[in-house]
């Protein structure tokens, strides 16, 4: 049976389609904007197109993410914690710690050797230390999200950013710009501020290697470097990171169909 996972996230919706052999057949992504339902549908349709499939060919769909209860075509829902843990282990099977930095949430998840979630911690209700903070910083500095990483890595004199608050960052960055600080140094400072927040969560759950970074921000090389520096720990990261939640949701859908024997990895 062919299954799908849809991650209706705060910043972007992602979808992944898997066959019963756990092969990824297609993936899709769409900006969430103000309409969670339509974004989830667009991501799902993009994944179908990439897989060359029709909607009726999908057996079960599981939804995750903040908007999971609005994904009307999903048969079941699961939290991002369960899905990112599965998605991270799918790509990096030895993963014991998952850091998911999304548009609005940051989560640290400790995974037991058998693949089950042992503990997790999340940022509190505000968006400090999440993708939203980095978006705000990029907007003030006039850089695109996909060039933040390479610019940040070029920094020679990183600027200390007091807090990873998505609201205060604007005035703080403007202040630094007025004093002549360079954009790449400010980006590095922003990445470090997020890494500081992430470290609090990760240390709280007791991180163990290997660690894997997932979520929309995991594609940002500057963020990966800042977290590695802060935690003193190598992070698995790559372009698949943003899809980890959707892949995890699809794996859960596969477990539901009974076609696949759960291997807990």
């Amino acid at each position: 049976m062919i299954v799908a996972g849809v991650d209706a996230g705060a910043a972007a919706a992602k979808a992944a389609i898997l066959d019963s052999e756990r092969r990824i057949l297609g993936r899709g992504i769409a900006r969430t904007g103000a309409d969670v339902v339509r974004a989830a549908e667009r991501a799902f349709r993009a994944a179908l197109e990439a897989a060359g499939l029709q909607e009726w060919e999908i057996g079960v769909t599981t939804a995750t993410g903040r908007g999971r209860f609005r994904v009307t075509f999903a048969a079941a829902q699961a939290t991002e914690i369960a899905c990112h843990a599965r998605g991270a282990r799918f790509r990096y099977p030895a993963t014991r710690t998952v850091v998911d930095i999304g548009g609005q949430d940051t989560k640290a998840i400790r995974v037991a050797p058998d693949g089950s979630v042992a503990d997790f911690a999340m940022n509190d209700a505000c968006a400090a230390g999440t993708g939203r903070f980095l978006e705000a910083a990029a907007s003030v500095l006039g850089v695109r999200l996909d060039e933040m990483g390479s610019l940040s890595l070029r920094s020679r004199e990183p600027v200390h950013i007091a807090d990873a608050c998505a609201v205060f960052v604007e005035s703080e960055l403007l202040d630094h710009l007025a004093r002549g600080r360079r954009v790449e140094d400010l980006l590095r400072g922003a990445h470090r501020a997020v890494a500081g927040r992430v470290a609090v969560l990760v240390r709280g759950i007791g991180a163990e290697p290997e660690a894997t970074l997932t979520g929309g921000v995991s594609a940002d090389a500057g963020m990966v470097a800042a977290i590695e520096e802060r935690l003193g720990m190598k992070m698995n990261a790559g372009p698949d990171g943003p899809f980890a939640g959707a892949v995890g949701a699809a794996l859960l859908a596969l477990e539901k169909t009974g076609n696949h024997v759960r291997t807990r990895d």
């Binding site: 939290t79 914690i81 503990d119 997790f120 999340m122 509190d124 209700a125």
Partner: protein, 384 residues
């Protein structure tokens, strides 16, 4: 619930229409029996702020207080009450009477002292501060108790002067005896949660059941309420439960139903909670005692939950988890209540799955249902 609503309505009616001097008291570790025996009508600003939060009017009062310069970080109860005062003192329950005296006990919450100072200024009424030393590990030191007893004695003469009525020993003994009876009955109800499945939810229900012991302790109506409530709980057929949880912290009153439903969905029954004991620590055997009137009131003031150290509070949680055979701990940390929330994350109990949640007890702005649900669902998914 109807009986409870009637009791609360009567309490408010007596305050706005009744006769006799009025005293303002905090909830934690108060000595309500003494002013009650002296003929005072007893008002609790915290309970009123709670009612405003529950009825979703606190948000407006809080904004009103912030307009006056109260910071977003100040306790939501305080701001709700200050906003109410700035709006002429008329809330959803009628007009709150001005106090003839404010009596603040320091063991429940340190912010209350500043709150009562502000209220004393607004109403130009005297403020009596009952200074209660910290008991840390729970055993009240005899010197500390003597220190409190001396102040309660002094308070008696102050109340006599203001109320123009001498506190008779018999009347005080009678009041204390009624407190003791209500405390026995309340503990019996809370203990019923030891049954499996539990017929009673010791948090989502108990936070309402605790209202009479909080505002009417020492009155015949209070004893009557708990006698009837005990019979009602005894006659219940318990609904099935899937999880047995212990809860630390107050509920988010403006979003009470949404919060309750997050747990209900998972079949979680709360079997013990610390919030229902913020008034006093009856579950550790304390009872008001007519034969030791001042001493037992002093002891009550000292042994209040937030007057304890974090290790002592963790020991209470550990004991409750064992005694009620719970399988998970839920810590709800509220921004407003520093005596409750500072260090609360350190109360995790070894080998017991613990869920840590943050919002507020009065400020509706600090609750995000989607984010809260992700945490609760993930917790029960993991701990399944």
């Amino acid at each position: 619930m109807t009986a409870l609503k009637r009791l609360m309505a009567d309490w408010y009616r007596d305050l706005s229409e009744g006769e006799g001097p009025v005293v303002y008291l905090p909830v934690g570790g108060n000595v309500a029996e003494l002013p009650r025996a002296c003929g005072f009508r007893v008002f609790f600003p915290e309970v009123n702020a709670l009612q405003c939060a529950l009825r979703k009017v606190a948000g407006e009062f809080i904004l009103r207080a912030e307009e006056q310069g109260y910071s977003p970080d100040v306790c939501g109860y305080v701001k709700s009450d200050m906003g109410l005062a700035a709006s002429g003192g008329s809330g959803p329950f009628g007009t709150i009477p001005k106090p003839d005296i404010l009596l603040c006990t320091t063991s429940g919450c340190s912010t209350t002292l500043k709150w009562f100072e502000a209220l004393a200024g607004i109403h130009e009424a005297p403020l009596f501060v009952l200074d209660v030393p910290s008991v840390r590990d729970g055993a009240a030191d005899p010197h500390a108790l003597r220190y409190v007893v001396r102040q309660v004695e002094e308070l008696a003469s102050v109340l006599e002067k203001i109320g123009r009525r001498k506190p008779s020993r018999d009347r005080l003994a009678e009041t204390l005896e009624r407190s003791r009876q209500a405390e026995d009955l309340w503990m019996e109800i809370l203990d019923s949660a030891r049954a499996k499945p539990s017929p009673f939810d010791a948090f989502f229900e108990a936070v309402f059941f605790m209202a009479p012991i909080t505002v009417l302790r020492g009155t015949p109506e209070c004893v009557e309420y708990y006698r009837a409530a005990r019979e009602e709980v005894r006659g219940r057929v318990a609904e099935p439960e899937r999880r047995r949880i212990v809860v630390d912290g107050p509920p988010p009153w403006p979003h009470f139903r949404a919060f309750r439903d997050l747990f209900k969905r998972w079949g979680a029954r709360c079997v013990a909670s610390t919030y229902v004991r913020v008034g006093g620590d009856w579950d550790e055997g304390f009872r008001h005692d007519p034969s030791r009137p001042f001493e037992s009131m002093a002891e009550f003031a000292a042994r209040c939950y937030t007057n304890r150290s974090l290790p002592a509070r963790r020991a209470i949680l550990e004991r409750e988890i064992r005694r009620f055979d719970a399988d998970a701990l839920v810590i709800h940390s509220v921004r407003s209540c520093r005596p409750y929330s500072v260090g609360q994350a350190c109360l995790r109990v070894r080998d017991v799955p613990t869920l840590f949640l943050e919002s507020d007890l009065a400020d509706p702005r600090h609750f995000n249902e989607g984010e809260m649900r992700t945490r609760v669902d993930a917790f029960f998914e993991v701990a399944r």
